[in-house]
Symmetry: D2
Subunit: 214 residues, 4 copies
């Protein structure tokens, strides 16, 4: 299972979480990565943790003040990027453009979407993976894998129908190892996590609990 | 073939074009419709021409000042709507929401997109049809069916791969009957037109020429 | 006092409300107007009520599918337009462009904003009026003129500091004649109303109550 | 004069330009700063050059995936930020929110705008400075201070009318020391530069030429 910890703009220490991600990754079979804010990518990547961007724009080198260039986040140390997170929704043409930009910079891509129909749409754009996150469950502590198992199974089916080479992750409300196991049982190859780790008093312990049942 | 005449915000008389659309529709086997601005839907529908909206928003009845509600454009006389035209690009989640809104109001849907990958994505959202319009050709007078026939064939294939019940239209630069025939030969079931008719001195004559070879 | 009834995308009959607006306008000293959805402007204007658009875009005649052209809403019967309502917020450059577009089409303009600082900014763009509507109070039934009188007075002062020829309206939660009187006492020359009239069982009676103390 | 070098998403080495900015700043009376991409702020700030962000969002700590938090760019080393650059235009309410966010994080603010009316609007939001950049001149090499001197003078007047404590910068097409002097003569207290330095073969020499006449 792939466990991607999204730090959003939480007031956590990104380096502390990154070191926990790195150590738990090294100690287990799960693959863990961390997605800090753009301005923190460099210091997070220096910890040795697998580092992702939270967003890249559908742009190339040029006159694009205030945008996130795939090459620059890669240069700072990111190896992958979220695209179209529900807190940073993009136009369809720009999701397409952001996936192409990420490919150009050798960034792995996870395109997020709200429901199975949108997951099918995201898969049609050829990312490495898609992630289904029902907006109503984000940040609730109610895991999508329990509250709405159908949405995960239907997302897996929708992606497979469009492009069976695209992996499916799921997110929203996931905070325990049982949630991660349940996600895997529904066909997900990974999970997106955020507050459960980023807001934990002890992120390393939270991550250890999370991957323990895997 | 379905011929949809998009009036954009051109300085034409929408009623004059609508009457031409109605008359040519009645005189031929082709199906013709016209998409005026929202404020002109009512007067256009009163001509008896098949009337479409240019856009609807991903909203329901409620507190949405300045938005286009599917029920209201239907109430004014529209029977279908474009969604995500390249001049009115939407977020992926909002294309999904707009298709759902249009279904709720019994509006036929055509979701526009720029290239075959995005056409596959649009088809995954379950509209009645998708329309591929390479932005670089819009308004050029160079028809997509000649300048870039692969994009039409690949769009037809991309849509069929995702959902074979979704029709494919094409647009950009189409202004003659030969262009329309060429589009049909590439697998398109209709075309989007704009300046070729809306800016013509004699819209009726332009439409007659257009459907003559069909 | 100017009383502008914004119908948003409420499920009311726009013609019924427009007739009430027209009749109460004719029977009192207050100036009343109604802002229906774009697709309803024509039928609302035909009632003889003063009709406003809820939004116009920063565009001219041309290739702008799915946008609201000032000339077209004027042509359909609107004599004024809201711009930058909190449910249809615009980029600064587009507020400027929309005010210019509205002027070109002889539409009166009311630019909305959330707080006194933004009201000063809106006034600097030279509209006919600005309207302060604290987002937290919209739709609450708690009138801004009572819940937050300072915001109205400060908005009046902020606009006057920038351009004393710009009128100030206020909105959010206004539903009674006392609310309107209180707004006037704070320096507002008019009010924006919505649900209090649009959702009333008897819009005419609601409007009569509203203007009775004036 | 304040000279702010915006690196946009140009393919330059941000550290090389930053070192030039630092050295020329130290050798002259002018104040120089550099605005790299978010992912490069940390390495640029480590050079000792005054470092600015190109953009911050109207957000606080919380669930804001893919956004630029003022506290985080400050933490990475930025001491100021551009807001509403013409390549990253914001809604009016979000410019206000971004200025408030920057103040909270002790970032100096420059709000950009296209013309004198918008400069007045920007000044009303209480930033430290505003910058007028006519979009038509950006990247042209034709300096605003020569091509359109009225726009600079009118911007200075518009800002002074709203809030005389707000400084005015200008940008677009500035590449020589004479351009900077001309800007100062028109009332500007600084300039925004981009390609003239970022794309120069020798950024340090370009900067030295630029500040030489000051």
């Amino acid at each position: 299972m792939f466990v991607l910890v999204n730090l959003k703009t939480y007031p956590c220490d990104p380096v502390e979480v990154a070191e926990a991600v790195r150590d738990v990754n090294d100690a287990t079979d799960a693959r863990l990565a961390v997605a800090p804010q753009a301005a923190h990518i460099e210091r997070v990547a220096e910890t040795g943790a697998e580092t992702w961007a939270q967003h890249v724009d559908a742009i190339e080198h040029g006159s694009n003040t205030g945008h996130a260039l795939a090459e620059s986040v890669a240069d700072a140390g990111a190896v992958g990027t979220l695209i179209n997170h529900s807190e940073r929704r993009l136009k369809l043409a720009d999701i397409d453009g952001a996936v192409r930009a990420a490919e150009r910079a050798d960034l792995e891509t996870v395109v997020c979407a709200n429901n199975p129909a949108q997951i099918g749409a995201a898969a049609a754009l050829g990312p490495d993976a898609v992630a289904v996150e029902p907006p109503a469950l984000i940040g609730t502590g109610t895991p999508v894998s329990q509250a709405d198992p159908d949405v995960v199974e239907n997302a897996v089916e929708a992606a497979a129908n469009v492009d069976p080479t695209v992996s499916v992750l799921c997110g929203a409300g996931i905070s325990t190892g049982d949630d991660v196991v349940a996600a895997g049982d529904l066909g997900a190859e990974g999970v997106l996590l955020a507050s459960g780790v980023a807001k934990a008093d002890d992120p390393q312990s939270a991550l250890e609990d999370l991957v323990e049942p895997l």
